[in-house]
């Protein structure tokens, strides 16, 4: 065994360098569509035509279908049999479900604060600082991005790759509901102090208190998002 490289070391070599691991066309297409959907380029309800998109992206229908399967699997699109691929309209129950998941995962991760390495804890605070800087510039889109990084960093306190990925997907899906929020400042402004407060608790290793604050934080955010959601489309 001497002289060889273990799988774990090999994996760590390419960690975070996705461009180094060869990736199939389908995955690249999925990645592209993922960002487009999250950006809101395709509003919820849009049908993604195989032929049109395949032509636009210069890939064959089969490859595109493989990409669609991936996106459907992470709920960024929905597949209706014999009808095609659609950007989903999140129902109220979906939004609630996502927040239930977030309370569980982010809250549980926050409780691990004391056990987490310092590096990860300061990452939480760093995201809050980023948000504050962006707010000072009145760049509320950057505030939103930083806010998502904040929650991702909270999830990372659990120290689990799978939790990280789970958070990525959950937040991506939640973006489908954010499209309803028009006034970014009004939504994000009140949460910024609370972010700071939670981050400080995390850095101090006071996980239980952080979870408690986070829990009410998420409940409030959910309520606001549901309200905005209802204002746009009554029932769905």
């Amino acid at each position: 065994m001497a002289g060889t490289i273990s799988d774990e070391i090999a994996a760590s070599l390419v960690a975070g360098r996705p461009e180094l691991v060869a990736v199939s066309t389908a995955e690249r297409v999925a990645g592209l569509l993922r960002t487009r959907i999250m950006e809101g380029l395709f509003p919820p309800g849009t049908r993604l035509s195989e032929e049109a998109l395949g032509q636009a992206l210069g890939v064959s229908r089969n490859t595109l279908r493989e990409a669609f399967r991936l996106l459907c699997h992470e709920r960024l699109t929905v597949h209706e049999m014999n009808r095609g691929i659609f950007v989903p309209k999140l129902a109220r129950s979906d939004v609630s479900d996502l927040y239930r998941l977030r309370r569980l995962v982010e809250g549980g991760a926050a409780r691990c604060a004391a056990r987490a390495p310092t590096e990860r804890r300061v990452a939480v605070a760093a995201a809050v600082t980023d948000a504050e800087d962006a707010a000072a510039r009145a760049d509320w889109l950057a505030v939103r991005t930083a806010d998502l990084h904040f929650h991702q960093a909270l999830g990372a306190l659990a120290g689990s790759d799978r939790v990280d990925e789970l958070m990525r997907r959950a937040l991506a899906e939640l973006r489908l509901a954010f499209y309803a929020m028009t006034d970014l400042e009004q939504f994000h402004r009140p949460f910024m102090e609370r972010n700071r407060s939670i981050a400080e608790l995390v850095v101090a290793g006071r996980g239980d208190e952080a979870e408690c604050e986070l829990s009410s934080y998420l409940a409030d955010a959910e309520a606001q998002l549901l309200a905005a959601h209802e204002a746009i489309n009554g029932s769905s």
Copy 2:
């Protein structure tokens, strides 16, 4: 709007009746392969040849590839570019990661016990009873199945569809490590009392205590699984 059926009601009509929603061939194939892999029919490290499997299942390569993509997305297979699809050999870090995820999710769900409807709480106890019955018959394979139902029922205490799905996938992936366990009785026997104890705490709505017990339970299970894992393949 009067006289029409809302989306939510429409959804509830087909809930739990998957045979009514048409499903594509790729998904059916993925489902079949999923169970086969979880059964251990394809031991970790096996390469799943597109041509051979496609012929065996009577589906085209393209359709099979769509199915593979789904399985890779839930980590039941891994895709090595230009080399094919493999049943993964879980590394020690994967097993640890999965247990970290389980402690977070199952633990967090257990804490919700008091808030969960009675129906879900008795489901936890019912799974334990199933396991005990199977143990009385010395049917240790059934014990394992009941044990998985037990943990699934714990996750269901969170009351979130997404958490349910997350648990399904995590447990499915973990089965890849279970293949290393040869002596089922030796592994499961000691946990059965602890299952019962946790189930009683859950039914009584004492979520915090349930989580506490569960946490040490999972830590012990992880240690045992890692030991068995190491005994078989040293490094990977």
